[in-house]
C-alpha cells in the first residue's frame, strides 16, 4: 500500500509541477486558469497520497519531506508526467494520455480498502472533468488546422512510448479499455494511433529521464537552499 500511495502521490505531484510551469505563459487567459485549476487539483491529490505514504512508512516523514527532500532516484512517478511541456499539443496529449489512464486507475483503486479507496473516490470526481477537457483538446487540435494536426500527431508519437509504463503489474488489465478509449478519440480527431509497442520503463523503480532532475531543481530549490523555511 505504501508503494501505491507513493506512486500515485509522486505522479500527481510531478504533473502538477509541470502544469504549474504554464502559469502566466499559457496561450490565452482561459487556458492559464484551466491549467492552474488542474495543477491544483492534482496537488491536492498528491498531498493526500503522500500524507498516507508517510503514515504507512512509519518513519515520521511528512508529505513535505517526501515531496521536497527526496532525490530523483526516490521518486516513483510515471516517466510520462515528467516529460517537458513542449508545445501546447505536447502538454495536452500528455494530459489526455494521463487523464484517461488516471480515470481507470482511480476506479480500480476505488475497490481497495480504507483510505486508498476514499482518496481515489475524491480524485475521480476531479479527474472526470480533466478527462473531458483534455479529450476535447485532442479533438480540437487533431481535427483543427493543418499545423495543429501535425503538432498533435507529433506529440502523440513522441509520448506514446511513455504510455506503456502505466499498465505495469496490477494495472495491466487497464490497457485494453485505455487503448479502446484512445482509438475512439483519435478516430474522431483524425489522428493515427502510433503503432510502436516498445515502452520505456523505470519510473516505478526510481529510474527517471533527465527531465526529472531539472524539474526537481526548480521545485525543491527553496527547501534545499533554506532548509525548514516556512511561509
Amino acid at each position: 500500500m505504501f508503494d501505491i500511495a507513493l506512486f500515485m502521490g509522486d505522479t500527481d505531484l510531478i504533473l502538477s509541477q509541470r502544469l504549474g510551469e504554464w502559469c502566466g505563459h499559457a496561450p490565452v487567459l482561459e487556458e492559464d486558469l484551466a491549467l492552474a485549476n488542474t495543477a491544483l487539483d492534482l496537488l491536492g491529490q498528491a498531498r493526500l497520497w503522500l500524507s498516507l505514504a508517510g503514515e504507512l512508512e512509519g518513519r515520521g516523514r511528512s508529505e513535505d519531506d517526501l515531496a521536497f527532500l527526496s532525490d530523483a532516484g526516490e521518486f516513483r512517478n510515471l516517466l510520462l508526467v515528467e516529460q517537458p511541456n513542449g508545445d501546447y499539443a505536447q502538454t495536452m496529449l500528455r494530459q489526455y494520455f494521463f487523464d484517461t489512464w488516471h480515470q481507470l486507475e482511480l476506479a480500480r483503486l476505488g475497490q481497495a480498502a480504507g483510505r486508498v479507496a476514499e482518496i481515489a473516490a475524491k480524485a475521480a470526481t476531479e479527474n472526470a472533468y480533466h478527462v473531458r477537457r483534455s479529450r476535447d483538446w485532442v479533438f480540437q487540435m487533431g481535427d483543427g488546422t493543418e499545423e495543429s494536426h501535425s503538432r498533435a500527431q507529433a506529440a502523440a508519437d513522441r509520448l506514446w512510448p511513455y504510455a506503456g509504463e502505466m499498465f505495469h503489474g496490477d494495472s495491466g488489465p487497464l490497457r485494453a479499455p485505455w487503448i479502446e478509449e484512445v482509438r475512439a478519440t483519435f478516430a474522431q480527431a483524425t489522428l493515427e494511433v502510433p503503432a510502436a509497442t516498445w515502452a520505456h520503463r523505470g519510473g516505478r523503480d526510481g529510474i527517471h529521464t533527465e527531465a526529472l532532475g531539472h524539474l526537481l531543481a526548480e521545485m525543491q530549490f527553496l527547501q534545499r537552499a533554506y532548509p525548514g523555511a516556512r511561509w
Binding site: 487567459l29 485549476n37 476535447d136 480540437q140 483543427g144 499545423e147
Partner: protein, 96 residues
Amino acid sequence: MSAVRDWPLWEVFIRSQHGVAHKHVGSLHAASAEAALCAARDVYTRRHEGVSIWVVPSAAITASSPGEREPLFEPANNKVYRHPGFFQVPPEVKNL
C-alpha cells in the same frame, strides 16, 4: 493553433442556485461550444459561483440599438397605471 482572434466570442450565463434564473456574467473566446463550456467553468465558477452554465454564441444575440432608446422605452415613462399600485391591499394579506 489558430490565433485567438479567429475564435468566436461566447456569452456566459451562470445559474447560482436551483430555482434562480441564469445570469449573464461575462464573455470569452473559444473554438467550440464544448471548449467554451470548459473555459466558462474554469474562469467563472472557481469560487463555487454556479450549479449550471449556458454558453451562447455572441453572434446569435439580437440586440436593441442604443439609438432606438426613445421610441422603445420612452412610451413606458408616463404610463404609471401599469404599476400595480392602484388597489388597497386587504390587511389579511401578509408578505406581499
